[in-house]
Symmetry: C2
Subunit: 299 residues, 2 copies
Amino acid sequence: MKCTRCKQKAVVALPSHNAGFCPSCYLEYFKRQVEKAIKAQNMFSFEDKILVAISGGKDSLALTLQLKELGYNVSGLHIDLNIPESSAEVRKTVEDFCTLQSIPLYVLEMKKEGLSIPEVKKRLSRPICSACGQIKRYHFNLFAKEKGFTVLATGHNLDDEVARLFANTLRWDIDYLSDQGPVLKEEQGFVKKVKPLYRLTEFETANYAFLKGINYSYKPCPFSKGASFTFYKKLIASLEQEQPGRKLNFYETFLKQGQKPFKLAASRKNSPLNACSRCGYPTSGEICGVCRIKELLAC
Amino acid sequence: MKCTRCKQKAVVALPSHNAGFCPSCYLEYFKRQVEKAIKAQNMFSFEDKILVAISGGKDSLALTLQLKELGYNVSGLHIDLNIPESSAEVRKTVEDFCTLQSIPLYVLEMKKEGLSIPEVKKRLSRPICSACGQIKRYHFNLFAKEKGFTVLATGHNLDDEVARLFANTLRWDIDYLSDQGPVLKEEQGFVKKVKPLYRLTEFETANYAFLKGINYSYKPCPFSKGASFTFYKKLIASLEQEQPGRKLNFYETFLKQGQKPFKLAASRKNSPLNACSRCGYPTSGEICGVCRIKELLAC
């Protein structure tokens, strides 16, 4: 197979785009997809102070590097969850990457916040993954707000987004469907959130990371059952194999026309949020979810 | 496994309902699902004159028999498509069934209408399945109207409905999503259409037909590529296996809450139809689709 752009030998085939690329043209393709996402969804400009949530996996590292190479003003925030089997190693990967790439990095240690994840897991009756996600979102948002970042960028890729859309659609959850998208605008105490990799699949990000020689963490979280969305991703992969391009088309058509009816019908849009009576974080109740977790741990 | 109702030996397992049944309790279960569908969707009453579209497959024959056994006023309409490899045999199956069950049967021969399907296939550039479906819907509707039937019932099952919903959702087709459902009300020259088997899967209808000793036609149409919806049905089957009950839940939640936003957003609802200038059939253009096919054949 020859490269679609330069006719050299291709090393990556992308049936979804009816294309194949040599290494350097692949990197050009990847960059253009990110640029297209940023522009089409009006994500941010060169004036923005962008905070990237860096977990240490391929997606967040690829995103950080691509944004930096495009000339954006990026800093990273890594959250150290204090999980014995993985956190120290993952944190080192992130620190090494940011040192190598000269990207300012902040690290928040959950242990210091009284939210060591193994401790939370022990005390909580609900699934740890949802609590851990809540804790991370809370700190990413709070940190961005406090330090004056205008945008929080996460490494969610097309597969993540499509699996979430699929799950929301299976339940016909009007509120979640009305909210989902590559941009959540700044409102009611939340910083603007963006997903610049939403046009790129997991395979495409992995391939970018490989070609860029990024040393990323493969270590799965020992607490994750791997169940969340994994089955949907498999189903969607067979659909994509049968109908190349369907995945991106399903998501983009949702954004273009499918979501509007849900936005009009959503009940959530009109409910104003309160400030948590403990920490001031926006919440629909009196006390925010993270303060409730802290309360539980203090008992 | 024991029968969920009577504790005798079960012959059918239904993980979606977390149940298993012996033959007679299965037939009771099947009947109740049909009754529930009719009642929940306000399909028809014992005063209605019901025309069942009988193709000769298991679904249409099962539907006809169940409605008759429930005491409804049913007649059948079979359309003879004049396809050499199958039509004669299928027609005989339908005629034998209706004779045995003492159900009034009408047969419309497409050859007499100048619409022999092999002829249409030869002359038409678009896929024959869509034209054939259009021709059948036209004649079912016209016949029901002319003979004073108040309802047209078809044998579409849950798998058909979910595959269609899945396809419409993948394309986020607002108009199709706003229209889809087990009942299409009477309007603008169209008879009321209902799908009383929408709560039952293909497996469940096949099982009913087997237990009732119905002799149905297995013969696939030689023109059908079998492609339409087949792949989606396979995907949905794996989803159902992973999450028993998901199929019915996806469809019912759509009807209960997912569809409303599409109904509000649909553009189609306000467009009035014209009467076809040739035959009077309701159409959005000047000449209806079937008259256009006839015109093509007359050239």
